[in-house]
């Protein structure tokens, strides 16, 4: 079983932060799963500082991997895109400020799908991150590096971001725990925007309690993000063991066509386990689920087409030659963006353009309302919803790259959560032919406490999280 935060704290007390960080750096060094886009050269320095100044924060000396779309002052932030090669932010994201204050050691930036656009980390300009359980398979995405690094024991905790499942999908594929917080719970200041109205930064770890500990650090109010909501935090404090009387809703629509039989079985087994632990379940219907995927992609692409407009080769990042500014920008974006990013920019531009705005963009926002209402109705009767995180276990590298739509379809169970803005956690619930499968526990707005409690209790009563991936060195 991999070390959790409490183990690391003990190790730091008995040795030093420097030694602990060095041991993780060594693991990263030895690995070949391509989880990182860059390693912080000052990682050991940061650890030494913790040792010498006796820094006492809740994460003092804990090494952490940061998804490469979260701005880190002085440390390259590329979103795994060639267009941002060489870009070094002059400022820290809110979550990074909070982590530094808590004593965490930023050990490096983790690989991802280019600008978060993918479900497999295959669209990264640095190549795919390999799944630690089977290196012929994808790690999931877009926070593939963050999940794989955690599952391979290269860091105990990491940060990802989740726009339509980007924390939960790789967590499920790699056998890690990943939380997508309620929209507004974590400041997005410093997170390079893909789809602003959908995404949140979220923690990944091998234990639910470590995810909660990270939320305590990053989930504080920040007035630099106008969509950040003041709320009562204390994620660790409310982390009780026990689900007696918990009302679980199981939405039929999340077990539909395309959901692998083994996956369905493992999720039902997990729900059975909850029953054994004193919870009760009912089936619920969320009729607008089938339309969530199309609505999600239209909104995400529309916002993305505008968010990515700033990458024009003028102020930062890479530039191609062009006879005038417009040609320079146009060539830069042709040559430095990958195919999937360009597809999404074009589709988003189309969906917002004159004549199509109402048919696509506005329509998608109305469907979003219906999807949100599905959740509001469901939570009138139940405390949490449970469903498979991903329709299948991790697929083979290259398998879906030529067919964008089939790739989009794997997000079918994760995107409705982002449309509604509710929190959701993916926890390991077993293995299908040696590959991890994730159970998704979805909660009501700002009720992370309940889904963390459910996931924590499940973890305490199962041993899925104790299994080690093949690539743990």
């Amino acid at each position: 079983m991999l070390d959790g935060l409490s183990d690391i704290k003990n190790r730091i007390v008995s040795s030093s932060a420097e030694e602990v960080v060095a041991s993780y750096l060594e693991r990263i060094e030895k690995s070949n799963i391509n989880a990182f886009t860059c390693i912080a050269e000052d990682a050991i320095e940061q650890a030494k500082k913790v040792d010498s100044l006796d820094i006492e924060g809740p994460l003092a000396g804990v090494p952490i991997a940061i998804k490469d779309n979260i701005s880190t002052k002085g440390l390259s932030t590329t979103c795994s895109s060639a267009i941002l090669e060489g870009y070094v932010p002059p400022y820290d994201a809110h979550v990074i400020e909070r982590l530094r204050k808590a004593g965490a050691v930023i050990i490096g930036k983790s690989n991802m799908d280019e600008f978060g656009m993918g479900t497999s980390t295959e669209t990264s300009t640095y190549g795919p991150t390999l799944n630690p359980w089977d290196t012929e398979r994808v790690a999931g995405g877009s926070s593939g590096g963050s999940a794989a690094a955690v599952a391979a024991g290269q860091v105990p905790v990491s940060l990802g971001s989740d726009t339509g499942g980007s924390v939960r999908c790789p967590a499920a594929f790699c056998g890690a725990v990943g939380l997508k917080p309620t929209y507004g719970a974590v400041s997005r200041y410093g997170l390079v925007s893909y789809a602003n109205s959908l995404e949140q930064i979220g923690p990944l770890a091998n234990r639910v309690e470590d995810v909660a500990a990270l939320m305590d650090v990053i989930g504080t109010y920040d007035n630099r993000d106008s969509t950040c909501v003041k709320h009562n935090a204390g994620y660790t404090d409310t982390l009780q063991d026990g689900v007696d009387g918990l009302k679980i809703g199981v939405p039929d629509e999340y077990f539909g066509e395309g959901i692998d039989d083994n996956v369905q079985k493992l999720v039902w087994d997990a729900i059975g386990k909850f029953e054994d632990m004193g919870a009760e379940y009912t089936k619920v219907s969320m009729p607008n689920t089938p339309y969530a995927l199309a609505a999600y992609y239209i909104i995400a692409m529309s916002e993305a087409s505008s968010n990515l407009a700033r990458f024009d080769g003028t102020r930062y990042g890479n530039r191609s030659e062009g006879e005038n500014w417009h040609m320079m920008a146009s060539k830069t974006r042709q040559e430095k963006f990958g195919a999937e990013v360009k597809r999404r920019i074009l589709l988003g531009t189309y969906a917002l353009s004159a004549g199509y705005h109402d048919k696509y963009y506005l329509k998608a926002l109305k469907v979003r309302t219906l999807v949100k209402q599905d959740f509001e109705r469901a939570f009138e009767d139940v405390d949490v919803l449970m469903a498979p995180t991903m329709p299948t276990p991790a697929f083979k590298i290259g398998e879906k790259m030529d067919d964008p739509l089939s790739l989009y379809l794997s997000d079918v169970n994760t995107v409705p959560i982002n449309l509604a803005g509710v929190p959701s956690i993916s926890v390991p619930c077993g293995f299908s032919e040696g590959l991890p499968v994730g159970l998704q526990v979805i909660g009501n707005y700002f009720d992370e406490a309940t889904i963390l409690k459910a996931a924590h209790s499940f973890e305490k009563n199962t041993d899925h999280h104790t299994k080690l991936a093949a690539e743990v060195v």
């Binding site: 407009a309 974006r333 589709l347 189309y350 989009y408």
Partner: protein, 93 residues
């Protein structure tokens, strides 16, 4: 269906240069996806309001108090071309 010409037009709007051969490929890929998006037509949304923000918050402001700016060097460090404190780019037209 989206045509090659439409793809080129969108490419210009989005400042993504598109080569001749890429245009056909994009046209077919984009058409497939747009076709899938078309299923939203089935949903009756006549009385439904759009959701722009899931969090029901309003009136978020900041006081009119200076917070300081970055050093000029920090801003210019990431630019490809710089001259006399300005960021330099190719001419516009």
């Amino acid at each position: 269906m989206i045509t090659k010409e439409q793809v080129e037009h969108i490419g210009w709007l989005a400042r993504v240069n598109i080569d001749e051969e890429d245009a056909s490929e994009f046209a077919s890929e984009l058409s497939t996806v747009l076709d899938y998006f078309g299923q939203l037509d089935e949903v009756d949304t006549s009385d439904v309001k759009p959701t722009y923000h899931v969090a029901d918050i309003m009136n978020v402001f900041r006081e009119d108090e200076p917070r300081g700016s970055l050093e000029q060097d920090a801003i210019l460090a990431n630019a490809e071309e710089v001259q006399d404190g300005y960021i330099k780019t190719p001419k516009i037209i």
